[in-house]
């Protein structure tokens, strides 16, 4: 399956009837997770509601989840915890002291469950690598909710490694998801994902260090910033941006949507001398935030909201003139998650317009929730006078016109692209 287009197999997998084999696999997973849940319940002395409901309770039977069908016990409609939630850094709202997240606290208070919120995802590839062996073996990954970018989320869903979302538990999501985010090829009915936030990849810089404003991707390679530049260790982000720069300079024909391996090779060849000379100091995941903080990085390829929410005062994001790269990060429930119902409750919770607005207005990413925009302006009227922050939350039309996505890849193409990146990162 992984040989083929990652987008395709999903629809066929969905259409395919549930075979006996899949039923058995599913029940095995449920069996294992129930066993693990039982172990955990015994191990933790706290008086949390145990995930296993008494067999006498009739309860609503979960529909359409092939995994749960063979088990006699219904999914307990009692939130269980803690919700193990893996997310990216700078992706949750914080209070003034930055000690806790108001929306997470509100969720905990509302449902009486604990949330184990961990900023464990620095980049898609390496995070998935930590859970892939468990998913492949049909074991619980330890996470109930994870956030992955489109291309990676599509692969995880296509591989059948996500729990199907019970739409009855997520009425807010059903009602409030923005229309343009619905009906994507890889999960047209939102059976397996709801977007967390959208954002752009562009250029970040510290205006004090650079002494001038940056406007282009090409500015990253200004000799004045030798040794102070970092790129992202993700093919999609880095190659899309450098490719857009090369297209503007007439060195490349295609847009990121249509890159071939040949294009990728050209992009690699463009970056390589800057790595050799030490101009590019490194390839990072989300930890570029620390490097901006320490002053080691002046200019970098970064994601749109991070510097505004978690960077220093003079750390700025700019949508480059050549164009930017747009993506959506998605909430997924990994197969075998212990607290699936709680994860669904959380999805539903963050699709409440007021909560979505509170969240987006702190992290400065683009909310997938209808009406969140108006609510943000209501919460924070000063945004109208702050074109920079407003542009992060509501990309202006001239920016949107130049935004691109990355080419959909087969596994072999992806490996070939990745190998070009690894040659640059020295690994």
């Amino acid at each position: 399956m992984s040989q083929r287009d990652p987008v395709r197999p999903l629809s066929s997998a969905l259409a395919a009837p549930i075979t006996r084999r899949r039923m058995l696999q599913g029940s095995a997973i449920v069996g294992v997770s129930a066993f693990l849940a039982a172990c955990q319940a015994q191990a933790t002395p706290t008086a949390e509601p145990t995930p296993t409901a008494p067999p006498a309770t009739p309860g609503p039977t979960p529909v359409a989840t092939p995994t749960a069908a063979p088990t006699p016990e219904p999914t307990p409609q009692v939130p269980t915890g803690p919700l193990n939630f893996a997310n990216w850094p700078a992706y949750i709202d914080l209070n003034e002291e930055e000690t806790e997240s108001p929306t997470l606290e509100a969720f905990k208070a509302k449902y009486g469950v604990d949330v184990n919120y961990v900023e464990d995802i620095q980049d898609n590839e390496s995070f998935v690598a930590t859970i892939r062996p468990q998913l492949q073996a049909g074991l619980d990954t330890g996470w109930d909710l994870i956030v992955l970018t489109d291309w990676t989320a599509a692969k995880i869903v296509a591989a059948g490694w996500t729990e199907k979302i019970d739409q009855a538990n997520v009425p807010n999501c059903v009602a409030n998801l923005r229309d343009e985010l619905r009906g994507l090829d890889w999960d047209p009915n939102q059976d397996y994902h709801y977007p967390w936030q959208s954002g752009a990849t562009g250029v970040g810089y510290n205006s004090t260090k650079t002494g001038r404003d940056l406007t282009k991707v090409a500015d990253l390679f200004d000799p004045a910033f030798a040794g102070k530049a970092t790129l992202l260790e993700s093919v999609q982000d880095t190659f899309a941006l450098v490719g857009l720069m090369m297209k503007a300079q007439g060195k490349l024909e295609h847009d990121p949507e249509e890159y071939t391996l040949e294009d990728a090779q050209k992009i690699h060849d463009e970056i390589k001398p800057f790595v050799e000379s030490g101009h590019v100091r490194g390839f990072t995941g989300n930890e570029y935030l620390q490097d901006f903080g320490s002053g080691d990085t002046w200019v970098a390829i970064v994601w749109s909201g991070d510097l505004a929410s978690s960077g220093g005062e003079n750390d700025v994001f700019v949508y480059p003139e050549e164009g930017s790269f747009i993506w959506t990060d998605n909430m997924l429930i990994p197969k075998g998650a212990q607290h699936k119902y709680t994860a669904e409750l959380y999805m539903n919770f963050v699709y409440d317009v007021a909560i979505a607005a509170e969240l987006a207005n702190w992290i400065y990413y683009i909310s997938p929730v209808k009406g969140a925009g108006d609510k943000i302006l209501e919460l924070d009227p000063s945004l109208a006078d702050d074109p920079y922050l407003a542009s992060l939350l509501f990309p202006p039309p001239e920016v949107a016109a130049k935004q691109h996505t990355f080419v959909a890849q087969t596994q072999d193409e992806e490996n070939a692209f990745n190998d070009l990146l690894f040659d640059l990162t020295g690994q």
């Binding site: 390496s126 062996p133 030490g278 320490s294 080691d296 020295g426």
Partner: protein
């Protein structure tokens, strides 16, 4: 009872060795056989790995990651040399001049171990950073280096990190072998009109060689396989084999390549050690004087 012991006397060494052998079998032999098998397989986590005697994992990767191997050997070697240059005078001073502070000084040598390895390396990242205290002194106050000079991300930072990290592994064996030296031998050398330097060169240094041997192995072997220093203090050009193995295993789930690289590294270290043992003399090692 006595008769029983007498009768099975031959078995006693085996019984005593059994726990150690069992340990090695379970935690060394089995994993290594599995890894050897993996290194000759092809496939992915999704497709599964099939054992195909895929020798290309070795031949291709030794070329492809040649630069990383080179980095490992050079950085590991330099770290060993610097550890010796710093560690020998340190151990010598503690052993010969430490007096009643010996134990305190030894404690200070190992005291960094009370902090997490990772925390210490991240601290170096701050110290060596472009706006960190080291460059503030060297660049801004003393003007010894140009303004765009960086330590972080260079080979210098990685070797410095490795040297710092493994210094105690060099110092302690050196201290033990220096401390054991019979002082009357040095006095005898002096009585026979050897200069202080002569006595050191002809008596102290040769007698401390087992310590040098043990110390350099204890530094070189972990240093050559280290990846944390290169990851945190280095840049794209200073990645060591350990970084590739780490990335292939944990970030890409490319187990065959990682396993093959691990075996190549192991083989290289083994060959290196054998050559080194030949050079310094195996009797020094096995003579039990260290």
């Amino acid at each position: 009872m006595g008769r029983l012991i007498k009768r099975y006397r031959w078995a006693i060494p085996y019984v005593l060795m059994a726990p150690g052998i069992a340990w090695l079998a379970v935690f060394f032999v089995v994993p290594n056989v599995r890894m050897l098998q993996m290194s000759l397989s092809e496939g992915s986590v999704e497709r599964g790995f099939t054992f195909t005697w895929d020798v290309a994992n070795y031949t291709d990767n030794v070329v492809r990651f040649g630069e990383n191997f080179q980095n490992s050997v050079i950085f590991g070697g330099l770290a060993t040399v610097f550890c010796f240059l710093v560690g020998y005078p340190l151990a010598y001073t503690i052993a010969f001049r430490g007096g009643r502070y010996k134990n305190l000084l030894l404690f200070l040598v190992i005291s960094p171990f009370f902090t997490s390895f990772l925390i210490r390396t991240i601290s170096w990242k701050i110290i060596l950073g472009d706006d960190g205290p080291f460059l503030e002194i060297v660049r801004d106050i003393l003007h010894l280096v140009p303004t765009n000079f960086s330590v972080l991300g260079s080979a210098v930072a990685v070797v410095a990190g490795l040297t710092y990290e493994f210094l105690p592994f060099m110092t302690l064996p050196l201290y033990v072998s220096l401390e054991k030296i019979d002082r009357s031998l040095i006095e005898a050398a002096n009585d026979l009109y050897a200069s202080r330097w002569g006595a050191f060169r002809r008596v102290t240094l040769p007698l401390s060689l087992p310590g040098v041997f043990a110390g350099s192995l204890l530094v070189f072997i972990p240093a050559i396989g280290d990846y944390v220093n290169a990851e945190l203090l280095g840049g794209p050009k200073t990645q060591m084999v350990g970084n590739v193995i780490q990335a292939r295993f944990l970030a890409q789930n490319d187990y065959p390549t990682a396993a093959a690289l691990a075996f190549i590294l192991m083989a290289a270290i083994l060959v290196g050690i054998l050559a080194y043992a030949r050079l310094l003399g195996t009797e020094q090692l096995t003579g039990g004087r260290a």
